[in-house]
């Protein structure tokens, strides 16, 4: 049956519906999400400084595609589908490396870092083969906030990707007041103090929904609620239209696991941003948390309807990283929050296929803003057939 999965509630009702359980388990819905959301939108994949010198490359996955991201000699950072144009072998077969060309290990078709086919056995006796046309397929690249952002489709050359300014930057500014107030944190100049990778056995939407609300904070985040007592009321930093800075508790010195002082504050933050925590979601796969002395940047990579990889960077001032100052108490706080959140998501995922969740669940008022995410999601993937 084709259904409208979001019935608008009667005005004045406290509970709004969530999507049906099938939205979190169905492999076909998941493929549609890959195609219509992750492959069509901009995804943050790597810190730009993780590709420091020409020839350095890494492979990443966006939607259903594996992508080579490489720092070229002449053209900055470029990205290509990791598919040999000869007979399709993976060109790069490890997660990272450094090389002068990108060479396929099967028949040695060899691509310049800039993408075009430069050599292949006997290519000189095939003068009709256009080397540009048989180069690696390009993926759109942008650099912002010190991250490399990719957009897989449409293929470069066929037509333009969605405007980065109108999608990503506008999304940030409508949530963060204005892009500037995020830019105060100078995220592009920060350095990674630590990165953690979580394999979460849950649908990516459960993770976003979890991140968007704080109704669960008092129950599962004891350390976070100590540092930010107002979270015990259940209102998330992003629950209202414009982001709300959540204040540190009176005795709290810094955003650390025990409330002790952090490292030196980022120099350009506004006075109103001091002693405050802000959180935003940049659809479809980035969460940014800012506190006075560091920034926590999450990237999600959905793997299947029931599995998502989350990478989380803790970003500090360059001197903090260079001097190897102790940031373990800062990292530990959000690492615990991550583990607590992902555990809750993992305990929710199995229920998504239960009869009890055929019609979905409920959103309380401090979660009502999540319904806007659900509406957006439903628009992207279109109507789907519900079935058990």
């Amino acid at each position: 049956m084709i259904i409208d999965q979001l019935d608008t509630p009667l005005t004045g009702t406290s509970l709004k519906p969530t999507p049906a359980g099938v939205a979190y388990t169905d492999p076909e819905i998941f493929i549609r999400e890959q195609a219509e959301i992750f492959e069509k939108m901009w995804n943050a994949v790597l810190r730009a400084d993780s590709l420091a010198s020409p020839g350095q490359w890494r492979t990443v996955t966006v939607g259903r595609e594996e992508i080579i991201v490489v720092r070229t000699r002449k053209a900055g950072i470029k990205a290509y589908l990791n598919v040999c144009r000869h007979r399709g072998m993976r060109v790069c077969t490890t997660a990272e490396g450094r090389s002068k060309t990108l060479q396929c290990g099967y028949h040695a078709w060899t691509y310049a870092l800039e993408g075009e086919l430069v050599a292949a056995p006997n290519l000189t006796s095939m003068p009709d083969v256009d080397r540009g046309e048989h180069g690696l397929k390009t993926v759109h690249v942008r650099e912002w906030l010190g991250y490399i952002w990719l957009c897989v489709s449409p293929a470069a050359g066929s037509s333009a990707p969605p405007s980065f300014e109108e999608t990503v930057m506008t999304e940030v500014s409508t949530r963060f007041g204005e892009v500037q107030s995020l830019e105060n944190y100078g995220i592009e100049k920060l350095r990674v103090g630590q990165t953690r990778r979580y394999e979460v056995a849950a649908n990516w939407k459960l993770i976003i929904e979890n991140f968007m609300e704080c109704y669960h904070c008092a129950t599962i985040h004891p350390e976070l609620t100590e540092v930010i007592p107002e979270f015990a009321q259940g209102w998330a930093s992003q629950a209202q239209d414009e982001i709300h800075g959540a204040s540190f508790g009176a005795q709290v010195e810094g955003f650390t696991v025990d409330g002790s002082a952090g490292v030196a504050a980022l120099p350009a933050i506004a006075e109103a941003q001091d002693r405050k925590y802000y959180a935003i979601t940049v659809r479809p796969q980035v969460f940014i948390n800012t506190v006075p002395d560091h920034v926590i940047f999450h990237r999600m990579y959905p793997v299947s309807a029931a599995k998502t990889i989350v990478e989380c960077d803790w970003l500090f001032l360059p001197e903090v990283v260079e001097k190897q100052l102790d940031v373990s108490r800062s990292v530990e706080l959000f690492h615990r929050v991550n583990l607590q959140d992902f555990e809750a998501c993992e305990q929710t995922q199995p229920s998504m296929s239960s009869k009890a969740y055929d019609d979905g669940g409920a959103l309380v008022p401090s979660e009502h803003h999540i319904a806007e995410f659900h509406q957006w999601w439903a628009q992207q993937i279109g109507p789907f057939a519900r079935g058990r």
Binding site: K100, T101, T110, V118, A119, A120, P121, T124, S125
Partner: protein, 94 residues
Amino acid sequence: MSPPIAVFLTEEGTVHALDDTCTHQDASLAAGWVEDCRVECPLHESTFSLTTGEVDQPPAKRGVRAHQVTVRDGEVLVELSTAAPKLPPGVEVA
């Protein structure tokens, strides 16, 4: 008849000419990586001296011919080597 010739301009600004075809397999050295006055074959790891054509390491075992180059008024003039070209198996001068 001569096989194709590759002309190289190094970062230092010097100009060199070698037979374009690698001696190991049919690959164009013009597409190779130029560094320290050598060109690395684009297919495998052998590198050739831009001045003498000599090869440093397998899989190519024989060097390529180097040709005399003069630059006059911005024009590159190449004087062909009289040695016999060393082509990979299966490749003949057209």
